[in-house]
């Protein structure tokens, strides 16, 4: 099946002959002096083009980075604030908080604050007395 036969094989032979003759005609001339100069020039040009393309790409990337720096700098503070806000809420259990308050209140008063302590006692007793004395005229008024 891979080896054609009959008319098709003859046509393929003609095709081969035609291509061979066309190529032979084209390359019949001896290789001119400096035949590969054009190829070398093309190779150099393509190398330069590759270098140029990479340089351009690098320059574009650098410009993009430099251009986006101010944006990044402006964008940074809100992120920091957000972080602080996230950190602030500390969940404390209610019972633990109440215990902490009780402990603080029930602590003994230091010696240096002792006069204040007595003053506090005095103010509490006087306040009850004054309350009763203040209430007396009111009672009188009510009686009247």
């Amino acid at each position: 099946m891979l080896e054609p036969a009959g008319q098709f094989a003859a046509d393929l032979r003609n095709l081969r002959s035609a291509v061979h003759r066309a190529a032979d005609r084209q390359t019949a001339q001896p290789v001119p002096f400096g035949w590969l100069k054009a190829a070398k020039r093309r190779q150099r040009t393509s190398q330069h083009r590759v270098v140029l393309a990479w340089s351009l790409a690098t320059a574009c990337a650098a410009l993009f980075c430099i251009g986006s720096l101010p944006l990044l700098r402006h964008a940074a503070p809100p992120a920091a604030e957000q972080k602080v806000i996230d950190v602030q809420p500390v969940v404390i259990d209610d019972t633990a908080l109440l215990e902490q308050i009780d402990n603080t209140v029930s602590e003994s008063v230091p010696s240096s604050l002792a006069p204040l302590d007595s003053l506090d006692n005095w103010s509490s007793t006087t306040s009850t007395n004054t309350e009763s004395s203040l209430n007396a005229p009111e009672k009188k008024n009510v009686a009247q």
């Binding site: 046509d11 095709l15 291509v19 066309a22 005609r25 390359t27 035949w35």
Partner: protein, 196 residues
């Protein structure tokens, strides 16, 4: 035959390469037609084929240290040419705005080059017409099918050699060749692909 320095490349020291590559001008003289023929048949463009032939020999010269003599020099050069064809077709696809100009270039009309062995002018015309039809069918094959077809029926390479040149398995080469032959035969005989 007198030695003619034509490529302006420095002659190779025999130690740095194998014997076949020792005289590069001789290599060019021996294989230029073959490489040009393959490139012209692959691209249907004489100017591009000539440029790529030069590129092929320059690449071969620059990569001469990589040639270990495991395959024949002809196979090695054809492999370089094949890579150049692939690169050229790829870059032509990328430069789509140049396509019109490219196709308008020097297209090979193989029908004009048929050897005049027919007995009558009518037969010559008939042969030319058949060859043109086959050539059109070959041009419309996929790249791999066309490569395998040309290497087999224009360059007359064996299947194993085609496999070595293209880097395919022999079974893959057979498969491409079978499909290419079927398509070319059917198109040349005026059958559509659905009628097989």
């Amino acid at each position: 035959m007198g030695h003619m320095v034509s490529t302006e490349l420095p002659p190779l020291a025999r130690a740095e390469s194998v014997l076949e590559l020792a005289d590069f001008d001789e290599v060019v003289r021996l294989y230029r037609t073959r490489i040009f023929r393959f490139l012209m048949a692959s691209l249907s463009d004489r100017d591009v084929a000539e440029s790529l032939t030069q590129d092929c020999f320059l690449k071969a010269y620059n990569a001469r240290h990589q040639f270990r003599g495991e395959s024949s020099l002809s196979t090695w050069l054809t492999r370089i040419a094949l890579n150049l064809v692939r690169d050229h077709l790829r870059s032509r696809r990328m430069r789509f705005w140049q396509r019109t100009r490219d196709t308008a270039l020097d297209i090979v009309d193989v029908g004009e080059w048929i050897p005049d062995g027919a007995s009558s002018p009518e037969q010559v015309c008939l042969q030319q017409e058949r060859v043109r039809e086959i050539w059109k069918s070959v041009e419309r094959l996929s790249r791999q099918q066309r490569t395998v077809f040309l290497l087999r029926f224009v360059e007359e390479m064996e299947l194993a050699e085609i496999a070595e040149t293209t880097g395919m398995n022999t079974s893959t080469v057979k498969s491409h060749l079978y499909r290419a032959l079927r398509i070319v035969r059917d198109r040349a005989s005026g059958k559509s692909e659905g009628e097989q």
